[in-house]
């Protein structure tokens, strides 16, 4: 079981500590941890489980904040990691983002939340909807109130009814003026295009996000027109697993508000909506680079938010890059990001430039990988179609809405 949770800023400062059990963990462990980070470089930031001389540490880094948990005994490491992720989710949900100042400004709420989320090292209440009922998130009204009256309490006086019900994720006596439920398909395309320009792997990681504002205790069923496209699925705890096993129908009592109903993966897609073609030609110490971006298969909707990012190899000393569309930004750590935005109708964006190599180096022999991001509204590239959404016990006919969206996920083009 976890013994302690620390929140560290990106400079290693301990923002807060929450001791969870009687076996106190000294703050010194954070110094040890930060020293390791400093000596071993950032690669350690990506290692989730570290064994220090006295404790095992689990870390999750979100937006510069390190969530560090300590234990001394055997426990499932994924449990700790999942929990820390959950804490990070809840906090960023409460505070509208995560950064050092937000945590400092709202440290009391963070403490109160942590105290509800974990007790004696074992997770207690992690369902965001219930937490919201127990501890009110900071909002403009409460802020203004606190300035005017100097006093508001964000701790609820009553226990959320959901903790007692058989659907612990939902309040029993919800009343909404507007009865509405929205279903969003949010997909991310993971693709790898190898050096020869061949599509090595192309798959969709998607989530069915539901925003439910329904009164009472609604029982929903959601069915897909083509459930056979799914390769893998994972469900929110509210989904009844039996109907899915039998007819691949999602039957559930939704939590109130926004939640992820399921996530899925569709593998072996045949093509990507856009292409990125990088080219390098090197000669006597310099290297010409040209990158072409264009539409391969028109998805029917406009593609926007296109960015191409890559990191110049360490042997490149200077670079001069110019795009014919959008803007290029080269950061100190040699990361170049080319922001294209919306795909222009009339021309294909391209970027070209020269890279100067280290002295003594004739030609480039290591090549960067290009990360491509894009967004297509209104299309689920996996081809998944929602058939229908039914409400079993309608108090009044709800308003239903469906949307779809595809983004670039781990979309990588090797050069």
């Amino acid at each position: 079981m976890l013994q302690c949770i620390f929140l560290l800023s990106d400079s290693g400062e301990v923002l807060l500590e929450k001791q969870l059990t009687g076996h106190r963990v000294d703050r010194a462990i954070c110094d040890w941890f930060w020293n390791q980070i400093l000596t071993q470089g950032d690669s350690l930031k990506l290692v989730p489980v570290i064994s220090s001389p006295t404790h095992y540490l689990f870390q999750v880094v979100r937006e510069g904040i390190t969530f560090l948990a300590c234990t001394q005994i055997e426990m499932p490491p994924l449990m700790a990691i999942e929990f820390l992720c959950r804490v990070a989710d809840v906090l960023s949900n409460y505070l509208d983002g995560l950064n050092e100042d937000l945590i400092k400004d709202n440290f009391v709420i963070v403490y109160e939340l942590l105290d509800e989320m974990i007790d004696n090292g074992f997770p207690l209440t992690t369902e965001p909807n219930i937490l919201r009922e127990m501890i009110a998130p900071p909002n403009i009204v409460s802020k203004v109130l606190s300035v005017v009256t100097g006093n508001t309490s964000n701790v609820s006086n009553t226990l959320p009814g959901a903790t007692a019900s058989c659907v612990p994720w939902r309040k029993t006596d919800l009343k909404h003026a507007t009865n509405e439920v929205y279903v969003d398909l949010v997909e991310e395309m993971d693709a790898t295009i190898n050096r020869d320009g061949n599509l090595v792997k192309c798959e969709i990681y998607g989530e069915v996000q539901v925003n439910s504002n329904l009164s009472g205790l609604p029982d929903l069923t959601l069915s897909f027109a083509n459930p056979s496209v799914f390769n893998d699925v994972r469900f929110h705890p509210c989904v009844r697993l039996r109907p899915w096993e039998l007819n691949q129908i999602l039957s559930f009592v939704p939590p109130d508000g926004q939640f992820k109903l399921m996530s899925y993966r569709v593998k072996k897609l045949k093509s990507t909506p856009i292409y990125v073609k990088p080219q390098f030609t090197s000669d006597s110490g310099t290297c010409r680079i040209s990158v072409l971006v264009g539409i391969r298969n028109d998805p029917g909707k406009s593609i926007d938010n296109i960015t191409v990012e890559f990191r110049l190899p360490p042997c490149v000393t200077s670079s001069d890059l110019s795009p014919n569309y959008g803007s290029v930004n080269v950061l100190a750590d040699k990361t170049c990001s080319w922001t294209i935005g919306r795909m222009p109708k009339d021309k294909a964006p391209s970027m070209s430039g020269t890279l100067v190599l280290e002295t003594g180096m004739e030609r480039l022999h290591v090549f960067p990988t290009f990360q491509v991001a894009f967004r297509i509204m209104g299309v689920a590239l996996s081809g998944l179609k929602i058939d229908k959404l039914d409400l079993k016990n309608p108090l009044s006919r709800p308003h239903k809405g469906f949307r779809a969206l595809t983004r670039g996920g781990e979309f990588q083009v090797r050069s």
């Binding site: 095992y56 074992f122 309490s153 705890p237 697993l241 180096m361």
Partner: protein
């Protein structure tokens, strides 16, 4: 708030940034103590209290110690405002342990809150009350938890379940039974939320009390999908352990694949049954199981890899071989079936930990064909979050090693993404090379080729290593690999020639290494590769790569025509370059010289000779001595064996039989045994922390012994016992059969063996004997009581969940050893303590006669006899000094002069014949620090028959080895040994019984050690002088015992208690309490003796020591037990 808006410009600018943070608690965090907090805390306004508490919380967050506000904060616990209450609770929990007395003040309010109609208030009160770790209120908390466990509110019941481990953590044995009873009750709860929390309580309190699970097994399985995710993780583990303990392993599962093969091979001899063992191909592809690894995995899961590896030296393959009773079948056993059924939907869970836990169950229990089910969910986990990816991959790696066919169709999912961390990348590479098959290898290679040009050269080098592994695994592709690698080597080496960077070298070296590994498998077909490599030698600059190429050259110099043709040229080149090579390469060149000469054909020798002798000559005068030495040795070889200098002689071959030639041939010739690939044999249960860190984390427990739990299907027999026994714990564990217990005890012994090496404290032989003694004592007990002992050992092993005790292995061990007794002891005590009478023993001090030892007897000392005894007086010089009375007496005819005792000088005197005849003490401790002696006054003259007394003062520093002294008498020096007595490393610490008990309660758990011994001295006395009836026999025995204690250890007798209700002859329950403090650090040391038995028999005395210095306490305990058990003289 207004204090923030000062008049200065600086604070104005601050104020402007404050605007964004307005209404938040930002100012409290930034300047928590800019107003004085104390008056705010005492304010009558809730808002001001609240602000003060927030400021305190900010200080806690920033790591300041603000426990001095404790009394003021505690007062506020009575508040009605929930927010203030919450903040007070947060503060209380943070500091309660530091300020136990003040914390007690809050208990009444908690008690009141527990009766509050608002369940939230009840739950908070319970959580906080249980979180205040005070022994004094433990029983109150237990009552509260018991009450809350029956609360109508689910949330309160859940909090009660979570509070149980907090209570258990205090290690109060008398509560164990009650705690477990509540756990059992909560496991039966209707609400899944409570069951989940109860499961976590079960796992940390009594993970091996399977009878609690057995009663509810089916229901727990059914409720599993509804339990919330965190509870699921724990519950899955519990159910798996139960199923194995109850039913054993599944015949069709992977765990028994090795046995399966054996059975098959046996059955194949038997023609009739052979048709049964034909395995159907599954999905067209046969199940490719690496049985060897699967077997290791299974054994590791069951025994823990440390134990398994320790045993590996003397493997007997049948040790896993169960008789049929320990094997069950997934198809016919309902319990196993339902477990698999209920865990399979969990593979779709959102929580990756749940998925992995469920996958673990299927991995261990499911029939081999059904394991496939876990693959997709596991792979899908890789997409969930970056942090869990690494952990999941670590587990997949093990699965893939044991059963590559599971993952081989999904090789694409392990393709590396540039956003992966380095560790993830290497793990993926390893998995890819494990699961590569003939069909997938070509696409995998395409991927690898891309990675070789990755800017991260370390990763590129790892890719090359993976290519090498694949080529070795799949000989079909080795040629393709080799060609690709060769191309890479050639292009890399040309790159290197231009820009040499440290990172670039890694890749080239790895390429050559991989090529070498592939060539080793079949050198003859790869001659051209060697030639190519050698030809590019000139452009290769990495010394390690050059060295390897030269090694290959020497090793394979005669495998083909091409190589032997180019050898002379190469050696000319090498001779030319020799001076500029690195040491590593030079050594290889010299080696290669010998190999070439040994293998070369006669006609080439003359050509080679010049170059080689030139090289050797150069090497002889090299700057590096290693190279010089080797050159000399090898030159000797050659000059002898091969007639190196007389090549023209026709008959040089006759000298081939020279011995040195044989040596050379032996060293350089011969086929090298390729060292098998280093393989990680460390497997831990899937999803465990130990599997990630690759060592057994404290508290890690392998799977229980299959079928070790025999259920009481025949109408709960233990309930009968239940009424008689006060302890539920014992009878619950009664139905666990002996095998499990054995497993556990043996576990400890192995641990203690491994701990021995690292311990500086217990090193000497007799120390080990002591250790062994306690262990034997544990297992050799009378059958019934011994059973209890072991049971409680096992139950305390559940306490491994507790973290504090795990800090020191030594402490833990000792605690485990000794606590076994305490379980029973405390139950005895609790029986007895109902009514006690205090016996006062007066004048005991005068009767104390410390034992004396001989330092030198007259026969050895030319008539001088020296006797010493430890004295109870406290040194005036320093409190760390122990006083020793030394009596000298002259038994000879002549007077003696200048008798003096001093510490031995560093140069030991040769005279060591003297051996003191004193009874062998427990010489336990060796310590780096030397004992020091305050010199005594010299005795000028000792006449015949005259005695003289002196006082020695020694600072022993816990040093238990004999102190070597030099006794000079009449100018002669003699070495003598003074044996320290740990009983006098302490001095009496007078205290009354109340403070004794209080102190004792503060030193629980690992600070408490118990051993038992028999005391029989009173028997002699009774027999000797027929007891006068008026003298109370109880008093007499107590006196005897106290005397024995006091004359052997420098303690203060605190009290002697006896039960009032005791029978006439029954001494059971009498307890003596003694106190002392350690000389050099004044740490209190409490000794309690508890008697058992009757007057007419040897008494069983259990000696308990409470001392913060655990090791010292243990040693003292051993000493006390030793002298108590000593026969009277």
């Amino acid at each position: 708030m207004l204090t923030q808006f000062g008049a200065t410009a600086e604070s104005l600018s601050k104020a402007s940034t404050m605007m964004f943070r307005i209404g938040t608690d930002a100012h409290l965090y930034d300047d928590p103590d800019d107003v004085s907090i104390a008056p705010l805390l005492d304010s009558k306004f809730e808002s001001e209290k609240c602000e003060a508490l927030k400021r305190l919380l900010a200080l806690i967050a920033q790591g300041f110690d603000i426990s001095n506000y404790f009394p003021q904060v505690v007062k506020n616990v009575a508040t009605q405002s929930l927010e203030v209450k919450k903040l007070v609770y947060l503060y209380l929990l943070h500091y309660a342990e530091k300020r136990p007395n003040e914390a007690l003040l809050s208990i009444n309010y908690f008690q009141k809150d527990l009766g509050d109609p608002n369940p939230l208030v009840r739950a908070w009160a319970l959580r906080t009350m249980a979180g205040i770790r005070l022994h004094a209120i433990a029983s109150l908390v237990l009552v509260a938890v018991g009450k809350c466990a029956r609360d109508p509110s689910v949330y309160v019941r859940k909090c009660a379940a979570i509070a149980l481990p907090k209570l258990h953590d205090l290690r109060l044995e008398e509560h164990t039974a009650a705690i477990e009873e509540i756990v059992g009750m909560l496991l039966k709860d209707n609400s899944p939320g409570v069951v989940g929390a109860a499961a976590s309580a079960f796992a940390s309190i009594c993970p091996n009390n399977f009878s609690l699970i057995g009663r509810n097994y089916k229901r727990l399985c059914e409720i599993l999908p509804d339990v919330e995710e965190w509870g699921q993780i724990v519950l899955i583990g519990i159910l798996l352990r139960y199923a194995i303990a109850k039913h054993g392993l599944v015949r069709e599962s992977l765990m028994l694949s090795f046995e399966d093969l054996e059975i098959q091979s046996q059955e194949k001899d038997d023609p009739e049954s052979s048709h049964l063992t034909v395995r159907k191909p599954f999905d067209g592809a046969s199940l490719d199981i690496c049985t060897e690894i699967a077997d290791i995995v299974a054994r590791s899961y069951l025994e823990g890899p440390d134990k398994y590896l320790a045993r590996l030296g003397h493997v007997n393959q049948d040790s896993l071989g169960f008789d049929g009773s320990c094997i069950t079948s997934a198809t016919s056993n309902d319990d196993v079936k339902i477990l698999l059924q209920c865990t399979s939907p969990l593979l779709w869970s959102y929580n990756s930990a749940v998925v992995l836990a469920a996958a673990g169950v299927h991995w261990i229990m499911a029939p081999k064909e059904d394991i496939r089910k876990i693959v997709k969910p596991l792979i899908f986990l890789l997409r969930s979050s970056g942090s869990s990816k690494y952990v999941v991959l670590c587990n997949i790696q093990v699965f893939a090693k044991a059963m590559p066919s599971l993952f081989s169709p999904y090789y694409e999912d392990f393709f590396i993404s540039s956003s992966d961390s380095y560790r993830t990348k290497t793990l993926k590479l390893e998995i890819l090379s494990t699961i590569a098959t003939k069909t997938s290898i070509s696409s995998i290679f395409l991927e690898f080729q891309d990675h070789v040009r990755d800017p991260d050269r370390r990763f590129a080098a790892d890719t090359v290593a993976a290519i090498g592994l694949c080529a070795q695994k799949l000989p079909d592709v080795s040629n393709t690999c080799l060609e690709a690698l060769l191309y890479l080597a050639l292009s890399e080496s040309s790159n290197n020639a231009v820009a040499l960077m440290g990172e670039e070298e890694i890749l080239l070296v790895q390429v050559v290494k991989s090529i070498m590994a592939i060539i080793k498998q079949d050198p003859h077909s790869h001659e051209r590769v060697i030639v190519h490599l050698v030809r590019s030698l000139d452009s290769m600059s990495a010394p390690a790569a050059r060295a390897m190429v030269i090694w290959m050259l020497g090793e394979y110099c005669n495998i083909g025509v091409l190589t032997s043709k180019m050898i002379p040229t190469i050696f000319k080149y090498l001779a030319h370059r020799f001076h500029s090579e690195s040491v590593e390469t030079k050594l290889q060149i010299v080696n290669a010289c010998v190999k070439v000469l040994l293998r070369a054909k006669v006609e080439d020798i003359s050509e080679l000779r010049l170059a080689i002798s030139y090289v050797l000559e150069l090497a002889k005068y090299d700057l590096n001595y290693d190279v010089r030495d080797r050159a000399r040795v090898l030159k000797n070889f050659l000059s002898h064996c091969k007639g190196f200098n007389y090549l023209e002689e026709a008959d040089y071959r006759t000298e081939f039989n020279d011995l040195t030639y044989v040596f050379a041939e032996y060293i350089f010739g011969g086929t090298k045994k390729v060292p098998s690939e280093s393989f990680s044999y460390r497997f831990y249960l899937p999803g465990s922390l130990s599997q990630i860190v690759l060592h057994a984390a404290p508290g890690y427990e392998p799977l229980p012994e299959p079928c070790s739990f025999a259920d009481d299907e025949t109408g709960h027999s233990p309930t009968n016992v239940h009424n008689d026994h006060e302890s539920n714990e014992i009878d619950d564990s009664d139905d666990i059969s002996g095998s499990l217990d054995e497993e556990n005890t043996s576990d400890y012994s192995s641990e203690s063996v491994s701990g021995e090496g690292g311990d500086s404290y217990i090193a000497s032989d007799s120390g080990e004997d002591e250790e062994a003694g306690t262990l034997i004592h544990l297992s050799d007990d009378a059958p019934d009581s011994g059973d209890h002992d072991r049971v409680s050992v096992k139950n305390t092993s559940s306490g491994l969940m507790d973290a504090g005790e795990l800090m020191s292995k030594r402490a833990l061990e000792s605690w485990l050893n000794e606590n076994s007794d305490s379980g029973q002891n405390s139950s005895n005590l609790s029986q007895v303590q109902r009514s006690l009478a205090r016996i006062s023993i007066k004048d005991i001090g005068q009767l104390v006669k410390p034992k004396s030892y001989t330092l030198l007897d007259p026969t050895n000392g030319n008539g001088l006899s020296v006797i010493y005894r430890f004295s109870s007086e406290v040194s005036k010089v320093s409190k760390e000094l122990a006083c020793i009375h030394v009596s000298f007496s002259n038994h000879s005819e002549e007077p003696m002069c200048n008798i003096f005792l001093a510490e031995e000088k560093p140069n030991p005197s040769p005279d060591s014949s003297e051996k003191s005849g004193s009874p062998s003490e427990s010489v336990l401790v060796s310590h780096d620090k030397e004992a020091t002696l305050i010199p005594m006054e010299e005795i000028d003259r000792l006449n015949p028959g005259q005695p003289a007394d002196r006082v020695l003062q020694v600072r022993f520093e816990h040093h238990l080895l004999p102190l070597k002294l030099v006794l000079s008498c009449d100018g002669r020096k003699q070495q003598v040994k003074l044996r320290p007595d740990i009983g006098y490393f302490i001095k009496p610490l007078p205290m009354d019984i109340e403070s004794f008990l209080k102190k004792e309660s503060q030193l629980p758990g690992m600070f408490e050690n118990i051993r038992r011994c028999t005391f029989s001295e009173h028997l002699n006395q009774q027999n000797d002088k027929d007891e006068p009836p008026q003298k109370d026999i109880f008093l007499m025995i107590c006196e005897k015992l106290a005397l024995k204690m006091l004359s052997n250890a420098n303690l203060h007798l605190v009290s002697v208690d006896m039960p009032v209700a005791a029978n006439l002859d029954d001494l059971s329950g009498i307890s003596l309490r003694l106190s002392g403090e350690i000389l050099n650090n004044s740490v209190p040391c409490l000794v309690t003796l508890t008697l058992k038995g009757t007057c007419a028999e040897p008494l069983e005395v259990s000696v308990k020591i409470n001392c913060e210095e655990t090791v010292f306490g243990l040693n003292l305990l051993n000493r006390i037990v030793n002298f108590l058990a000593e026969p009277p003289r």
